[in-house]
Symmetry: C2
């Protein structure tokens, strides 16, 4: 398979750097072709702004979605953005690797999403009707591909548990897994998360490394997170609310968007 | 009061620009002193990297929290970062205003958090013992101050409702409200969220503007979101899990971190 790893850490000699090298080595040993977008090393531009839309007239008001729609359609987006879009089309699997900073991805990676996820490419795709609300959440240009996160956290696993003070890790990562990866069509694998990274000793590191190798060996076979497809009948259109007869009718929050065994959803 | 509004939109002629002007005008009319950090206009540097730590030796491995701890203590952080820290200490109320892009804040604002929230300033504060786990989540250098979000979203309010496909807006904003604002001590007011912003007509805009003015008039009196204080006895230390006898013992997810009427928490 073709694999794109987008890496967002400023220090190559970090734990993240070591884990990236382990992942790449294992993937190549399995015969995959791997490309790495090392955002800090590439001096990736983090902010989306007028400079992203060279075709926009200097005095024209910037509406990001409109400029993005037009720029993507006319192939006038900047070279760095188009190169990343090509990589996404090339890759069968996308891996985003980053340290959890303030409970989400680093700014530089968020800026990669904002700039590379153009309108007409990752959103604003497909028709809107009473049966469909665009091609998103399980459909879209990146459907049929897989994606997963590799995340390091300084805090303890308990602090990110179901009743931990930081909030459950699955809920903290939902806006990324569901809102950024599932949205344009990816099947999203469970994340690989390492905790207490500042206290990892050599034996701990080797355990982590072996788990990561195992995840890299099972990229094609690991079951994705069973998010519900938007246009599969589970959601009312256009309110995009989960049908009241699906799941626990009292249930709310991110978890309702997972299929469960008790429903046909 | 002193009010700092951090603004993260690339286009002054946007709805966000108009709402910012309305907020500032109303606050000034109430006699408050207002400062605005307009991140795009300031050409704010979004990425945290080696350049943030001028005292770091060129060949030294960058560990962000260690470099941040040392740089903050020695006052060697960069001028732009120290200026923002001064503004945070000056302000009685912090307002973060941004468009919701990919279900969270824009990269440029995330980078403001990463760079300004130094170790020893916004995290890594206070002692760790069997009674305390640092001064955070309701305590810290910014305790006693208030904060709130002003957010615009392209999507419909229903899509962000309890069972809406994007996830409930309160859950999407939890990592910011709880993880970024409550963490260093702010009392966090309910967010001001505007939906369907690309379809707002003149009458709709005037309604939104009037609600925003009302929120600006009630900054000092609006009840904060009742998050539980970390060191107030509700959490086990060091696992930082909510005590099993508090709230619904089966309840999980972000909402357990709100005090409820049925418990002493």
């Amino acid at each position: 398979m073709n694999i794109l790893l987008v890496f967002a850490h400023p220090e190559p000699r970090s734990l993240n750097g070591a884990l990236r090298d382990i992942a790449v080595k294992e993937l190549e040993a399995q015969g995959h072709e791997v490309r790495v977008s090392d955002l800090y090393a590439m001096h990736w531009k983090s902010e989306i702004d007028r400079a992203d839309f060279p075709a926009l007239a200097p005095d024209e008001r910037l509406k990001v979605w409109r400029a993005s729609t037009e720029g993507f359609a006319a192939k006038t987006l900047t070279e760095d953005v188009r190169a990343e879009q090509e990589k996404l089309l090339w890759a069968d699997v996308l891996i985003l690797q980053f340290p959890l900073w303030w409970f989400t991805m680093p700014a530089i990676l968020k800026g990669w999403v904002e700039r590379v996820y153009a309108s007409g490419f990752a959103y604003g795709v497909g028709e809107h009707s009473d049966k469909r609300w665009g091609d998103r959440y399980g459909e879209g240009k990146l459907a049929g591909k897989r994606a997963m996160l590799i995340v390091t956290a300084g805090g303890w696993e308990e602090h990110y548990s179901a009743r931990g003070i930081n909030g459950p890790i699955d809920d903290l990562l939902f806006p990324i897994n569901h809102g950024i990866l599932y949205y344009p069509g990816y099947d999203v694998l469970p994340p690989f998360v390492v905790y207490k990274v500042d206290r990892l000793d050599e034996a701990g590191f080797e355990t982590v490394a072996e788990h990561l190798r195992e995840r890299m060996r099972t990229l094609a076979t690991t079951a994705p997170i069973p998010y519900r497809r938007q246009n599969g009948g589970d959601y009312l259109i256009p309110s995009m609310q989960l049908r009241p007869d699906l799941g626990d009718p009292e249930a709310t929050g991110f978890a309702v968007h997972l299929k469960d065994a008790s429903t046909a959803g």
